[in-house]
């Protein structure tokens, strides 16, 4: 360790505010970009998925109309 105590580490002999401001801005902006890019990828992926599912919905998911104008379906059981 280049410092004798934790408070000396934070103070950095008076240069603390400069050093810690730089590191804070760096970490916030880089982590923010990583997080935001990952979130945008997820959102794009789900948007594509919804689009495909709307295009050709799976047969079982579509509720079948019980009655139409031309034909009434009555259960034979």
């Amino acid at each position: 360790m280049a410092f004798e105590s934790f408070s000396a580490f934070l103070a950095m002999e008076g240069h603390g505010p400069y050093v810690w401001t730089c590191y804070a801005v760096f970490v916030i902006l880089v982590a923010g970009t990583v997080f935001w890019s990952a979130k945008r990828h997820q959102a794009t992926y789900h948007m594509c998925k919804r689009g495909y599912e709307q295009e050709n919905p799976k047969g079982q998911n579509v509720p079948k109309a019980a009655a139409t104008f031309t034909r009434v379906e009555i259960s034979q059981d």
Partner: protein, 247 residues
């Protein structure tokens, strides 16, 4: 060789390769970056001239390196876009331009905060600082131009031309400290020569530079994948990929 080149231009092939490399890039980047920064902040010795303010170097130099490298990579991709009309090259330029803007801003910001205790001023209009500010505007210009043109192909060509015109700024940034008398110190980091700084400072700097490069690689892959999903969503392979649940 040519087959490899054409494969490289295929978004489908890229998607597979990116998925394979991304976990390694992220893990390696984070480990190296954290190791370099912790070492630099807490364990590297104090500079005899600048005291502890020099510890900003461990984020300032990697950011500045990336700011310029990303622009050079974008310029290479711009040549590929103009000559071979490769889709992936344009996807790359569009995806990484905001990341380049971020690192240029970080290099300028950390430089300004470092300048205050070292030079006694936040900013001077000298060659190195001004040419870096121009780089920031170039990145901003590339992003704005891309967003202002709706047609994908016209946007790709216009952006490629702008990126290539702006590349003249890169040697100016690099050699500004040698050509003109500037406040900025000369290059700390040369791959070809023995480092001028102490090993205890140089090794953590090397770690953080490598770490940030790997992290950039991961970020570039992720952002390119997003852009490919948007552009190729009408194709069959993207549809199969998404419906199979592969991200």
């Amino acid at each position: 060789m040519w087959q490899f080149f054409h494969k490289l231009g295929s978004p489908k092939w890229f998607f597979g390769i990116a998925n394979r490399f991304m976990p390694w890039l992220l893990a390696g980047g984070l480990i190296l970056l954290v190791a370099g920064l912790v070492w630099g902040l807490a364990f590297a010795p104090k500079d005899y001239l600048q005291g502890n303010s020099y510890r900003i170097i461990f984020i300032h130099v990697p950011s500045a390196f990336l700011a310029q490298s990303i622009y050079i990579m974008m310029a290479s991709a711009a040549v590929v876009t103009l000559v071979w009309r490769m889709k992936l090259a344009d996807v790359f330029v569009k995806s990484v331009a905001p990341v380049g803007l971020l690192f240029t801003f970080l290099a300028l910001f950390t430089g300004a905060v470092w300048g205050k205790p070292t030079w006694g001023t936040w900013w001077v209009w000298d060659a190195r600082l001004t040419s870096m500010l121009i780089l920031l505007f170039l990145y901003g210009g590339v992003i704005a131009l891309d967003r202002s043109i709706n047609d994908e192909k016209s946007a790709a060509r216009a952006v490629a031309v702008l990126v290539l015109v702006g590349v003249v700024n890169i040697p100016i940034i690099k050699y500004s400290v040698n050509w003109w008398n500037t406040l900025h110190q000369p290059a700390t980091f040369k791959l070809t020569e023995k480092p001028a700084m102490a090993m205890e400072m140089w090794v953590p700097l090397l770690l953080s530079v490598l770490g940030l490069y790997l992290l950039f690689g991961w970020l570039a892959c992720l952002r390119m994948k997003t852009e490919i999903l948007v552009r190729e969503r009408r194709t069959r392979w993207v549809k199969e990929l998404v419906l199979a649940g592969r991200k």
